[in-house]
């Protein structure tokens, strides 16, 4: 190549590299990994949107300690291997000081293990019990566990004296985890599981399993781990087969479309849910009233759809991090971790958090309200 051309290329490369390594302005780099595509999209999408909305708000209001937050968000597509790689990217390449994520348990554990080795705090949003049990020093769980969902449902079933139940769980991660926890919690709540069926996460017809459920002797209630299309299909098949015993669902049906898609078949379905699902029915003196209402209104205004509890997890994760940065006047990971362990009580969208060195879950059953689908919308019971 001619000399001039070579020099020109070299000069261009040098210029480009200098621009690339210009020292960045002081900013707080927070990483986030959500499952925005894939089977958990309806959980991951509100999570990402919430974090983006509030990082924007915080920055517009002047940032944290005068520094703006730089949010670096990736999508792991519900794949734990991808989540691991993305966590490594956030830590090694993007140099973040904390990670929020991921949406599901498998990826959350993967991120947790990577971040623990690098000593970066993780605010995990997955629902599995193993995330916070045993306690991993650098991993904080934001959101209730599947065990808590079972406990809340079983608690009510016990109170209503409906102790012979049918359990129908999807073979996906959520269904699996719920089923395991429910099987374990059954004895402590005097519940007998008289029929135990599974279905695939993409089944279009669940009548065979429900036929077996219907013919179980002494059936008094049914607990289902529905989400996505199967939540609607299940409810429809349930009514189609004329099963009349109470049906309990859980987090998976607290999606904006569930009632609209399922229609009349959803009437009477009960589920434990955090306050944000029924924010317009909260008493004004409820401790969560202000934070939940503000969040629900802001989310609805920006995205034109109701806020979801999963977005609420992300809200709490972000705000707890920001709180520690404001308090410590530094984003040092080790200090952040210590302060997080002493946080509490922090009244968030999900519930009241009380972390401690021995408790990285921080929530108790009071963060749940029992909700029923009634008259075409979610109504607060009790």
């Amino acid at each position: 190549m001619k000399k001039q051309v070579r020099y020109a290329i070299a000069a261009a490369l040098v210029a480009a590299t200098s621009i690339a390594i210009t020292p960045a302005q002081a900013e707080i780099r927070i990483g986030a990994i959500f499952s925005v595509t894939g089977p958990a999209a309806f959980l991951g999408e509100p999570e990402r949107r919430t974090v983006e909305l509030y990082v924007d708000r915080i920055n517009t209001a002047g940032g944290v300690n005068g520094e703006k937050i730089k949010l670096i968000a990736y999508d792991d597509g519900a794949d734990a291997n991808k989540a691991r790689l993305l966590a490594q990217r956030l830590i090694d390449d993007d140099k973040v000081v904390a990670i929020i994520g991921s949406t599901l348990t498998g990826p959350s554990l993967a991120i947790g293990s990577v971040a623990s080795e690098a000593k970066i705090p993780v605010m995990a949003l997955g629902g599995g019990v193993p995330i916070a049990e045993p306690v991993k020093p650098w991993v904080f769980k934001v959101g209730h566990t599947d065990r808590m969902i079972c406990q809340k449902i079983f608690g009510e079933l016990q109170a209503r004296k409906l102790t012979k139940i049918g359990l129908v769980a999807g073979t996906d991660a959520f269904g699996n985890s719920m089923r395991n926890e429910c099987l374990k919690q059954a004895k402590t709540h005097d519940i007998t599981i008289v029929v135990d069926e599974r279905h695939g996460p993409q089944d279009s017809d669940i009548t065979p399993q429900l036929t077996n459920v219907r013919s179980a002797a002494g059936l008094q209630a049914v607990v289902h781990t529905g989400f996505g299309e199967t939540a609607t299909i299940f409810a429809r098949n349930y009514r189609q087969l004329g099963i009349t015993v109470p049906l309990y669902e859980s987090a998976g049906v607290a999606a904006p479309n569930y009632i609209k898609l399922t229609g009349a078949a959803a009437e009477g379905v009960r589920l434990p849910a955090p306050a944000v699902l029924v924010y317009d029915q909260l008493a004004k003196d409820d401790s969560q009233y202000k934070v939940v209402t503000d969040y629900a209104k802001a989310y609805q205004a920006k995205y034109n759809e109701p806020a979801s509890q999963f977005g609420g997890f992300a809200y709490d994760a972000l705000h707890m991090l920001v709180m520690t940065y404001q308090k410590n006047k530094t984003t040092d990971p080790a200090k952040t971790r210590e302060t997080l362990e002493a946080i509490g009580p922090y009244v968030g969208v999900t519930g009241t958090f009380n972390f401690s060195a021995k408790d990285h879950l921080g929530l108790d059953l009071s963060s749940f309200r029992m909700v029923e689908v009634s008259g075409g919308s979610f109504r607060l019971k009790n």
């Binding site: 734990a80 790689l85 993305l86 090694d92 390449d93 498998g106 993967a110 293990s113 080795e117 991660a173």
Partner: protein
């Protein structure tokens, strides 16, 4: 007749070696090293599949099953039986080869699409068992893999795994090239052209196909074990249908029949998915587009396509 000296066939190995050593010495960023290590490991699986698909012409749409078996033996062995993780790599190899032998015989009698749907079924079954047997495999959430130790050196960290994977790939490629130029390799290629003609020439078609299948299974299993050990984790995604298709894409995009092509294909797919990760909503669209463009314009695959352009051979 190929008039070049015999050692010419090892050029792919040389190219890979130079690149791998150069990259490993020059690059400091541990994230890039991890990506590269993943490329090397997936490359091993792709080279194996290339033997089956590219050489012997048998399309397998369920090959990730063997990656899954390799990944999970290295997780279940220590967790359930207290075995050493590295020893479990051998168990994984053994298990994969055994399954390939047993299933291979009836499946390989099928042709064309029938063979591919049978392999699809196999992949699906393995995937289903992995996801369903929670007590054994951790179910959809996967299973942790303990860190392996060799002579009391803990195998952890981007750098160590980069070199381990590169070395393993080097050996895998060496063996593959030797196979290509052996009577067995030539037999594979004759199968690809026409099984009837090969049989007429006295080649034991069934036996040769089985050999290719078992070898590919072994390569896949080894790659799966490497990946699980490197990540410290075995996930159901390792054995998924998507993973099987990605493998096929690696072989085809890189160049079916070319050992170097398989590794290049692995590099393209792994790097591509990382490059597009910041594009959020456009990721699926862009990957689909890239795959289509590669296949339409570089139909032979990257390595043979470029070789053709440059006029070699």
């Amino acid at each position: 007749m190929d008039r070049r000296p015999a050692y010419w066939r090892y050029t792919p190995l040389l190219v890979l070696g130079v690149f791998a050593i150069g990259f490993g010495l020059l690059v400091d960023n541990s994230f890039y090293l991890r990506i590269a290590a993943l490329v090397w490991a997936m490359g091993i699986a792709a080279v194996g599949l290339n033997m089956l698909m590219g050489e012997a012409g048998q399309v397998s749409l369920g090959h990730a099953a063997f990656i899954g078996i390799g990944s999970y033996t290295v997780a279940i062995g220590p967790a359930q039986f207290g075995l050493d993780p590295l020893f479990c790599v051998l168990i994984g190899l053994f298990l994969s080869c055994a399954i390939a032998l047993v299933i291979g015989r009836p499946i390989l009698r099928l042709e064309g699409y029938y063979l591919s749907v049978a392999t699809l079924g196999l992949g699906y079954l393995v995937s289903l068992v992995i996801v369903s047997e929670t007590a054994l495999t951790g179910g959809p959430d996967g299973l942790a893999v303990p860190r392996a130790t060799v002579f009391s050196v803990r195998l952890a960290g981007a750098g160590i795994w980069y070199w381990i994977c590169a070395a393993c790939l080097g050996i895998a490629v060496l063996l593959a090239i030797n196979l290509q130029n052996s009577p067995t390799g030539r037999a594979f290629r004759s199968l690809h052209d026409s099984e009837t003609a090969a049989a007429a020439l006295g080649i034991d078609v069934g036996a040769k196909k089985l050999v290719a299948f078992v070898l590919a299974a072994a390569y896949g299993s080894f790659a799966g074990s490497l990946i699980a050990l490197m990540n410290g984790f075995a996930a159901p995604a390792n054995a998924s249908f998507i993973q099987s298709i990605e493998l096929v894409a690696m072989v085809v995009i890189g160049g079916s029949g070319s050992v170097l092509g398989a590794v290049v294909g692995a590099a393209v797919l792994v790097v591509l998915s990382q490059v597009f990760v910041s594009f959020h909503d456009y990721e699926t669209l862009l990957i689909g587009l890239m795959i289509m463009l590669f296949m339409i314009f570089l139909r032979r695959g990257i390595v043979p396509g470029l070789a053709h352009l440059v006029g070699a051979r």
